[in-house]
């Protein structure tokens, strides 16, 4: 099947061809659902959130002026929807000692991970991610899983580029501490 650009489908939808939205849905549903699931960590909530994201995108499609790519635009909706959802839950997150973040030895973490098998590594990563606050989890996922650049993350989250850099650096360090701690607890 021939695939067209997002702009082509958006134009068709704006002209009244609602069916063209299935192409947008097929292209982005996995990314949006995956992001929602990783942020809320619940299948039912993630599905509801992802549906909400696509409905919001459809309602505001006329407001999409093409200043950024459609991918960035829909990720922005997904990020804002997921973050406001988690804020309503008012869950408390683990505070990590600043000294631990500053002194974490990445090589040690990497070395420890190398001694475990792949399934265990995935389990450790999942548990470590679960302990990060949703906004930090979303940022690190944009960077690693979705392969977004710093500029794109800044555009999605409305943070400045330097703020994104600082946040990512800090989240990476936090993740190393959490991986180290999770791995240690699992081995004991």
């Amino acid at each position: 099947m021939e695939s067209y650009s997002d702009t082509y489908y958006i134009k068709r939808i704006q002209e009244g061809d609602t069916t063209a939205y299935t192409c947008i849905l097929d292209k982005y549903s996995r990314q949006v659902y995956s992001l929602a699931f990783k942020v809320v960590r619940n299948k039912e909530d993630a599905e509801e959130l992802a549906q909400d994201v696509f409905l919001k995108a459809f309602k505001h499609l006329n407001g999409f002026k093409g200043d950024s790519s459609f991918s960035t635009w829909i990720y922005r909706i997904a990020y804002n929807t997921a973050i406001s959802y988690t804020r309503k839950k008012r869950q408390e997150w683990l505070a990590i000692d600043e000294a631990m973040i500053a002194n974490v030895a990445e090589e040690e973490v990497a070395g420890a991970l190398e001694q475990t098998d792949s399934d265990r590594q995935m389990e450790i990563l999942d548990k470590a991610l679960a302990q990060l606050p949703p906004d930090e989890r979303a940022l690190i996922l944009f960077f690693y899983t979705e392969g977004k650049s710093i500029d794109e993350i800044a555009s999605i989250t409305a943070f400045s580029v330097s703020n994104v850099k600082t946040k990512l650096h800090r989240i990476r360090k936090k993740l190393f501490v959490l991986i180290k701690e999770t791995g240690r607890i699992g081995n004991e």
């Binding site: 609602t18 939205y21 299935t22 849905l25 097929d26 549903s29 996995r30 659902y33 995956s34 699931f37 990783k38 299948k43 993630a46 599905e47 992802a50 549906q51 696509f54 409905l55 459809f58 309602k59 990445e106 090589e107 973490v109 990497a110 991970l113 792949s118 590594q121 995935m122 990563l125 999942d126 690190i140 996922l141 690693y144 899983t145 990476r172 993740l175 190393f176």
Partner: protein
């Protein structure tokens, strides 16, 4: 490779190997149902807005016409001085009848084709 690159690679490798969640099977169908419902709602809202604009514009024209007659002192229409008024009424009624017929025919055409 410096320390930063190595550090990044550890996480990058981990995230690359992490499994991605599969979208529920009926997700596409559920979303499209909502989209079609929303599309119908938007169309109806636009129709209402259109109708409201026409009514507003018509009322404005009537108000302007009345204001013109009252304030500009335009000559009043004397019905008695129009001997051909039954003819005009006949033409007007005919036009309305044709419009009504056209509306009914369009309605039945739409119904017939939406069923197919």
């Amino acid at each position: 490779m410096n320390k930063d690159e190595k550090r990044e690679d550890v996480l990058k490798d981990l995230f690359n190997r992490a499994p991605r969640e599969e979208v529920p099977v009926d997700f596409r169908q559920k979303v499209m149902q909502q989209i079609y419902a929303e599309s119908v709602r938007i169309k109806k809202r636009n129709e209402r807005i259109g109708l409201l604009s026409i009514i507003t514009a018509s009322l404005l024209i009537i108000v302007l016409a009345v204001a013109s007659i009252i304030y500009l002192g335009l000559p009043k229409i004397e019905w008695a001085s129009l001997p051909s008024i039954p003819f005009y009424l006949y033409i007007g009624a005919l036009a309305l009848l044709l419009l009504f017929g056209d509306y009914k025919l369009r309605e039945s055409y739409k119904k017939k084709h939406s069923r197919l």
